[in-house]
């Protein structure tokens, strides 16, 4: 059974979505995450500025 299908078994059916291998690997891909790091920082700074 694929890891993302683990929670959709007959005994334990989950209604949510589970990330597959590609999504999981992107979460720890340093290059992609560095880009996301920059994006998240910019967004958070905007939220902080809007909050003051």
């Amino acid at each position: 059974m694929k890891e993302e299908e683990l929670n959709f078994g007959k005994e334990k059916f989950s209604l949510t979505m589970i990330p597959g291998n590609a999504t999981r690997s992107m979460r720890t891909c340093v290059v992609w995450q560095f880009i996301r790091f920059l994006v998240l920082n910019v967004k958070m700074i905007i939220v902080v500025r809007k909050s003051h």
């Binding site: 589970i18 720890t28 790091f37 998240l40 967004k43 939220v47 909050s51 003051h52």
Partner: protein, 490 residues
């Protein structure tokens, strides 16, 4: 010369006191009364609770920082407020009781011109039988990560559980809320995934049964009535976001639960449908409900006016609309803007110490009449922003007179960032990074979801984890008043 007294030295009180001291200079006095000798960056207690950080890494001594800032510091707890003074004292004053070694138990009165109540919460363990020890402290049945000391204790218990699993004994972990009216689900949310990660790292994940128990009516409520965020091109509810994470990590969940009793190795609970049940555990971290710290207030004649100054839950009344009304009539404008006490204009409440007008989440009751709903979060970023706005207002009142314009910081116009880590390795850790804007939904301004979906977002990954690390060092650096501290936003 005016004197500002700040009760509390947590995120909000520390922010108010340090900014006020900087802006007022030596012409006026800033006094901090806090029972603690150390400042604690509470979000990192999670890492202490799994043994990834030491207590010393998340705390520092307050005395040298306040000395540097020119702030008068009393290591004491506030007992009562006399906002009109008394028969023998013309000026308003606070009665304090020292907690520092050598002076413990001694009382003193501290006069003030302006007072900021930023006492934070009382951790009300005794609200649930068996969660507390009957004397207001945490009991022996569960652990907590609410203070650095609690987190150290939790890490030892976790290490014992991991050793047992390595020895072949299965362990059941129960993490979540210890009462139907808890807040701070985010801390428990973060802790459960850190435990899961520690079990994985130790090679015993298959020996661990991990379960979430919470008073939220749905996963991802977080005390904010849930939120909708942009993820992968969709506007997704936090319910789907949270359930996905729990299912992916193999963490089971029990929601809409009021933990009614805790015993050694077992909790009893009542669900929103009125049914009751029990859950066994080997290790449990259950957040206690919060209450006000129990400050009393007296008028000039010595009559008890606690009910005038404070709400029944012990939090201080401010400029909110406290009119009781049904959920459908709640408005963003009900929430306070200046945090000034309506009776005494020289008193303010900041951070957790102010009484919210009502819940943010939809109020829920079981058929037995038991309220089971999260109370509103007021920690972290909102606490800091409110503390700074109050400091601005008090400084303006001191410099320009009591009619000075008050600064505003409504939680209905303020965002918050929540970064919940799951592991600590620089290249292996991940975190659920979320921002919400505004914290209190405003359905008049944002009719769809109540929030601005351009600035309400969430994702899981290393990037959030790095941000969590940076925030740890940045906020401790700022709180120590190191060079450039004012440039770091709250």
């Amino acid at each position: 010369m005016a004197r500002l007294v700040v009760l509390g030295g947590g995120v909000s009180g520390h922010t108010t006191a340090t900014f006020a001291a900087k802006w007022l200079g030596s012409k006026h006095e800033v006094v901090v009364v806090t029972p603690n000798s150390k400042w604690n960056w509470i979000p990192s207690n999670i890492w202490v609770g799994v043994g990834q950080m030491t207590k010393e890494e998340v705390t520092f001594d307050l005395a040298p920082v306040y000395k540097k800032a020119g702030i008068i510091y009393h290591q004491a707890k506030a007992v009562s407020i006399n906002p009109e003074g008394s028969a023998s004292n013309e000026k308003p004053f606070v009665t304090i009781e020292y907690t520092e070694a050598g002076k413990a138990g001694e009382t003193e009165i501290v006069e003030y011109d302006y007072l900021v109540n930023a006492t934070g919460p009382k951790l009300n363990f005794d609200a649930t039988p068996g969660l507390g020890d009957g004397n207001g402290q945490m009991g022996d049945n569960t652990v907590s990560v609410c203070t650095a000391e609690h987190a150290v204790h939790a890490s030892h218990k976790l290490a014992e559980a991991i050793e047992k699993m390595k020895g072949g004994t299965r362990q059941k972990f129960l993490v979540g809320t210890g009462h139907g009216l808890c807040t701070c689900q985010g801390a428990a949310f973060e802790y459960v995934f850190n435990i899961e990660n520690e079990c994985r790292k130790a090679g015993v994940r298959d020996m661990a049964d991990i379960k979430w128990i919470s008073n939220e009516s749905f996963l991802g409520d977080f005390g904010m009535g849930g939120l909708h965020m942009k993820v992968g091109g969709y506007v997704v509810s936090s319910k789907l976001f949270a359930e996905s994470l729990y299912a992916e990590r193999g963490v089971d969940w029990l929601i809409g639960a009021h933990t009614s009793k805790v015993e050694k190795g077992k909790v009893e609970y009542e669900l929103l449908d009125g049914s009751k049940g029990e859950e066994a555990f080997d290790f449990a971290m259950l957040i206690p409900p919060f209450a006000g710290v129990g400050l009393k207030a007296y008028d000039k004649a010595g009559e008890d006016i606690t009910g005038t100054v404070f709400a029944p839950n012990g939090f201080m009344k401010v400029d909110a609309d406290y009119t009781a009304k049904p959920y459908a009539e709640w408005r963003a404008s009900d929430w306070p803007r200046t945090y000034q006490n309506p009776t005494y204009s020289n008193m303010f409440a900041a951070g957790i110490a102010f009484a919210p007008p009502h819940l943010i989440s939809k109020p829920m009751k079981s058929p037995n009449g038991t309220p089971i709903n999260p109370t509103p979060p007021r920690t972290g970023m909102p606490s800091g922003i409110i503390g700074k706005a109050v400091a601005y207002s008090v400084c303006d009142m001191i410099k320009k007179g009591d009619k000075a314009h008050l600064h505003e910081a409504s939680m209905a116009e303020m965002g918050a960032a929540c970064v919940a880590s799951a592991g600590k390795g620089v290249l292996t850790g991940t975190a659920a990074a979320m921002t919400v804007y505004p914290v209190v939904p405003d359905f008049e301004k944002y009719p769809g979801t109540g929030r601005d979906t351009d600035y309400t977002f969430g994702e899981v990954g290393l990037a959030g984890h790095w941000i969590k690390h940076i925030l740890h060092f940045l906020f401790i650096y700022k709180a120590k008043l190191n060079p450039g501290w004012t440039l770091i936003p709250e």
